[in-house]
Symmetry: C2
Subunit: 346 residues, 2 copies
């Protein structure tokens, strides 16, 4: 199946590059309200479901037990840039559970925020697991493990190998995904994510449905509905923690607050919840090469769905039709939602 063109890059007077993909908008009952392309093919959700993966941290009572703040809960849902505030929040989560960065099994990379990366290099330090963009999610797993274990010493033992699919912590995370998406994980394609935890392939329809429920709590258990509400509140209160300076998730939620909960994933995946409409969004660009096209597409969808005032419109318009400037600041092109896509979305 050839997927529709969702995003085009214009340079001069012609389209230089274009991005195909698929998208689903689904309500809490699972009704597909809008679709483009194949929404039944399994798509690895990657980091787009970190919110769903953080539900057990709250629903279990671990977030309360360790007194996690909005900032820390937002970081548990984050693909962060490794800015100093991100690193500090991950370290704080671990410290509250009596742990440190040694328990993290996410691997090490330089901060994805270039400024943070250069500042770290300039300080003469090397990155550690806390700088990994997934360190908040993993620190959340560690807090969950610490609650299960009862004390910090036992937690260190219990957490060994927590990234493996059959580990007691990862089974909790899997159960959360399963119940939110309605997809049996045993039937889903499984692979290993960048941070070594399993990632599962879900139809976009199921991912969008999961986000409709995450955004409303509808058809969740009371504990998980409350947990979803608390995570949404946390990210709305601390949007810098869920991504970072200049990043789309941070910008959208700084502007819209709790009206939008959105999360980028690797390989061109984006998921979002629009709680006031009871809708979930999931999309995936075929090429998945980086986030640029998925970002424009998710903005176009949000723009077409939410009731917006003039301030909102002025905010989203340059994110749906992005000016491209070169190293001298010259306007050289635009990255924009394809006209057909914008029309069909209205």
């Amino acid at each position: 199946m050839t997927q529709p063109v969702l995003v085009e890059l214009w340079r001069g007077d012609i389209v230089e590059s274009f991005h195909r993909g698929a998208l689903a908008v689904v309500d809490t009952a699972g009704v597909v309200l809008r679709q483009g392309g194949d929404i039944e093919r399994p798509v690895y959700a990657r980091s787009a479901v970190k919110g769903l993966q953080a539900l057990p941290l709250v629903a279990s009572g671990a977030a309360d037990r360790f007194g996690l703040t909005h900032e820390e809960l937002a970081l548990a849902c984050a693909s962060h840039g490794g800015q100093p505030e991100h690193v500090a929040a991950a370290a704080s989560m671990l410290a509250k559970a009596g742990l440190d960065a040694d328990v993290l099994e996410c691997g090490v990379h330089w901060p994805s925020n270039e400024q943070a990366s250069r500042a770290l290099a300039a300080s003469g330090e090397a990155p550690c697991a806390l700088h990994n963009n997934c360190s908040g999610k993993h620190s959340g797993f560690a807090c969950l493990g610490a609650l299960m274990a009862g004390d910090a010493d036992r937690a260190r033992g219990l957490l060994r190998g927590y990234v493996e699919p059959d580990h007691v912590v990862m089974r909790e995370i899997g159960a959360s995904l399963e119940s939110a998406t309605g997809v049996r994980l045993a039937d889903a394609p499984r692979a290993t994510d960048g941070c070594s935890i399993p990632t599962f392939g879900f139809p976009l329809r199921a991912l969008a449905h999961a986000f409709a429920r995450f955004g409303t709590g509808v058809r969740f258990t009371p504990e998980r509905a409350r947990a979803a509400g608390r995570l949404r509140e946390a990210v709305a209160a601390a949007p810098l923690m869920v991504a970072g300076k200049g990043r789309l998730d941070t910008r959208l939620m700084t502007h819209f607050g709790a009206r939008v909960f959105c999360k980028v994933g690797a390989e061109g995946v984006y998921c979002a919840a629009l709680p006031e409409l009871g809708l979930g969004i999931a999309l995936k660009m075929d090429d998945g090469n980086n986030a640029r096209a998925a970002e424009v597409a998710v903005v176009a969808l949000i723009e077409s769905l939410l009731a917006l005032d003039d301030v909102d419109r002025a905010f989203v318009s340059p994110l749906r039709d992005v000016e491209l400037r070169n190293w001298n600041g010259r306007l050289v092109g635009r990255l924009a939602a394809a006209a057909d896509f914008v029309r069909s979305a209205r």
Copy 2:
């Protein structure tokens, strides 16, 4: 027209992302020997034609006049990583013409090589135009301008605004593109490149034809045929200068020497010449998001066209079927030429 899938990213047991594109393999007479997708649609050649843009530097006599070395001529054809040796070679080119980095109009960015970028930050310095990946090309333009001007003082005046399409230097560069591709620039779409010079839209057929001629000198004037030979020799002798540590162009030409002249461009463009076969290759991935798919595709084409021994095969195979490892070094997937593409290429 829906283009064929050329490259697939596998994660676990399913295709996670895939890349469509078009390609042309053309001989010196302009005969299309292989094609996939639309090879008549104009494609901005971007940095893939830096070799063609460097021809006037040599054919004019400027390279001889200023005693440019293999390293410096390779840098004139380069999208380099801003490693110290790249920066030094650009500065040396300018110094030989009595100029310095102040004449460069390419703009400033941090070195694209991450290690070089962090080392620069650690040294407390900021990047300058010499770190721009195009600084070698622009230093070549400056040398050409210096030859035209006669002395360095006049050159500084003459070079002002050299990135503009109607500047005397840029007209020479345009004439070189026009004669190599056989496309009248007045008929081609024109836009502004990342480094502020004009970039033109050429059919892949014409780009591949230009590279067949660049690789052989066939149907070039004697001066330009000699210039092409000298640039090919320079890049084969100093392949680190044309890209940088770990980069595909550097790796391919380090291995194959003068048997391959290849050059990546922005937005998923790749061009290559295979002189011993008298063939040129041009391809463009639709999504153009970064080089990963174009790299795999060009390797698959080179592999299918060149006569290879066992050592060659062992070298190219992992570049055509690339292991993807995560932050913990775990094998998580593969980026590989699509089976249909590989079959049709044989």
